[in-house]
């Protein structure tokens, strides 16, 4: 059985973007999707029992879930907890979820992602990949997937995961390598470099990235339409610009901190606050982070 997918659903805003995205992902993996609403019926320990639930609010939550179930045919669940991210985290561990899909905060602009407090906490420490849906997502087709490439274990994992996803979706894959204009140095340091020296450093760095990328791509199974670009710019800026033209942006976690957890880094931090498409953040050192969803590579159609 492929690992189940959890979609966080707010019965108040009724933003269906996370559920729609979860269902789109489930089409690729045959996972079961559960739309989860978290509501704090709970009281301080020892006080929960004597008091009845609040009937009116309960009605609101159950009827929102009922509508969702009728329209999208998705399984729904209500969890009691004062903390929404804690409840989602616990549920993900309990069911061994392969993916948690969360929506953006209502403060954000339509069509853009913006991590709210729930997404924010899941993006730090979640035990499985987290997919952040833009607010009021309209088009959930997956024709182009982009992944930022860095030559680190996390970067290679992200590339492999994005590639597997593209294979399952029959989507094109855009692999974006970005070379910071400073050649990886602090901007202040780079400012002191002579132009020729900077150009030479850039040339060497560019070559190193290209070689690493070539090798990484050569190791992946054939059958995916891959397009690769190398930009010299601020990595977050490049990926944000590209997010306007793709249907999904995949990124890895930062390279230090607890293992097998999602942890935002400097670039992914900005992506989850500004991207114009859904953003998938993978946990650290999970080997093949999406393997829970896609069990065997044999299933990859050679399109």
């Amino acid at each position: 059985m492929p690992a189940p997918i959890i979609a966080a659903y707010s019965p108040y805003t009724e933003d269906r973007a996370p559920v729609a995205l979860a269902l789109a992902a489930a089409e690729l993996s045959d996972s079961e999707v559960t739309a989860v609403a978290v509501y704090p019926w709970t009281m301080t320990e020892g006080f929960a029992a004597p008091y009845a639930f609040d009937g009116e609010t309960q009605q609101l939550v159950t009827s929102a879930l009922q509508r969702l179930h009728e329209d999208l045919g998705v399984k729904t669940e209500v969890v009691n907890d004062l903390s929404i991210p804690r409840a989602l985290h616990a549920l993900a561990r309990e069911v061994g979820a392969g993916l948690i899909v969360v929506g953006s905060t209502g403060r954000g602009r339509a069509g853009r992602v913006l991590a709210g407090s729930t997404a924010e906490r899941l993006l730090v420490g979640a035990p499985c990949p987290v997919l952040l849906a833009p607010r009021a997502l309209e088009d959930r087709r997956l024709t182009t997937i982009a992944v930022g490439f860095v030559d680190t274990p996390e970067g290679h994992d992200a590339l492999a995961a994005a590639h597997a996803l593209a294979a399952h979706a029959g989507a094109r894959l855009r692999v974006i390598a970005v070379l910071h204009p400073s050649g990886g140095l602090d901007a202040a340091m780079a400012a002191g470099l002579r132009p020729q020296r900077a150009a030479m450093l850039e040339g060497r760095h560019r070559q190193a990235i290209e070689t690493a990328l070539d090798q990484a791509l050569a190791a992946l199974p054939p059958g995916v339409d891959v397009e690769r670009d190398l930009h010299v710019d601020d990595p977050a800026e490049v990926l944000l610009r590209i997010s306007e033209h793709v249907d999904l942006l995949v990124c890895g976690s930062r390279g230090y901190g607890p293992l097998r957890s999602v942890l935002l880094g400097g670039v992914s931090r900005r992506l989850v606050d500004e991207a114009r498409c859904p953003v998938l953040v993978l946990p650290r050192e999970a080997g093949r982070p999406l393997e829970g969803l896609f069990e065997t590579d044999d299933a990859v159609p050679a399109s």
């Binding site: 009281m43 609040d54 804690r86 420490g125 140095l185 602090d186 340091m189 293992l259």
Partner: protein
């Protein structure tokens, strides 16, 4: 021998971190590592020995200057470390591991308010996933005021019990008084209020329950620690911020979900890291008695 790792750069806020970390080291007999990461990487043909040496010299000058501020600590109690790493957060994270540090101390961002804590980008990243306890020191921290009164936030969760244990150990080592603070928040009684139960009927019940738990926690502290239970009802962030004006250090637990043996700030600790008037120390989750070794070091040095 326990170790306190103090992360420094060439700004004034590092002097705050040194002042606080140095005083804890004096009181506990801990070893101090003063560390600075300079933005250089040998990766991918970026190697540039001349530049590396220049950066290295500058980095050494920075740590030596900060080391000199720890005038009361002899040379065998202090180590200086410089690391070439474009990410200071990553460098400090790895050093905390390598040095088996019990505590990592950083200053506040230059964008913060005087006398208040506010982690900068490095501190922020470390508060998500640091492998040991982390303390963020407010800007303009006064080194000459003694640490007389500690506070610890307590809500009977496993994480807050770890925080109480750490705070009690520190209070013992510093010969300071300890306020164990429990706050009854509106969330704990709003739901039944909506259900038609008058809040005045319920509130005393909850407050009695919280007080009893608090009393038991205070009573269970080691005999040498002078502790007071402080219970308040209202907005937790507001009340704790207000109380922090009277404190010389506020200790908090990590949030209750996510990877173990790592610091993970939650809702309240995250807000206190932006509001408190005194240094804020967050202990990692999944460790029963964090800082026990640090505070225990006193015994070995005074014996």
């Amino acid at each position: 021998m326990s170790t306190i790792l103090i992360g420094v750069d060439d700004t004034e806020r590092s002097a705050d971190a040194i002042a606080f970390g140095g005083r804890l080291a004096e009181a506990t007999g801990a070893h101090v590592v003063v560390a600075h990461a300079y933005p250089y990487s040998d990766l991918h043909g970026r190697a540039n020995p001349a530049q590396r040496n220049e950066l290295r010299e500058r980095a050494l000058a920075i740590v030596r200057e900060h080391r000199a501020r720890l005038a009361t600590l002899p040379d065998d109690r202090v180590t200086i470390r410089i690391t070439a790493d474009p990410s200071p957060a990553k460098a400090l994270h790895h050093l905390a591991h390598a040095e088996k540090a019990a505590l990592l101390v950083v200053g506040s961002s230059h964008t913060g308010r005087a006398g208040r804590v506010l982690p900068g980008s490095t501190g922020e990243r470390l508060t998500h996933g640091a492998p040991c306890a982390i303390a963020v020191v407010p800007t303009g921290y006064r080194a000459d005021e003694p640490i007389r009164r500690l506070g610890v936030a307590f809500n009977d969760s496993e994480e807050s019990r770890a925080a109480v244990s750490a705070a009690a150990a520190l209070a013992g080592a510093l010969d300071a008084e300890l306020d164990v603070i429990s706050i009854v928040t509106p969330e704990t009684y709003t739901t039944p209020m909506l259900a038609g139960i008058a809040v005045q009927d319920l509130r005393p019940d909850i407050e009695r329950e919280v007080q009893a738990t608090l009393d038991a926690a205070v009573a269970a502290l080691p005999a040498g620690v002078t502790a007071h239970g402080v219970r308040a009802t209202g907005d937790a962030e507001e009340l704790l911020t207000e109380h922090s004006e009277k404190l010389d250090l506020l200790v908090m637990g990590s949030r209750g979900y996510g990877p173990l043996r790592a610091v993970l700030v939650g809702g309240l600790s995250g807000r206190m890291l932006r509001e408190a008037h005194c240094p804020v120390l967050v202990v990692p989750r999944g460790i029963e008695a964090p800082l026990a070794a640090l505070a225990g070091a006193t015994a070995t040095t005074t014996a």
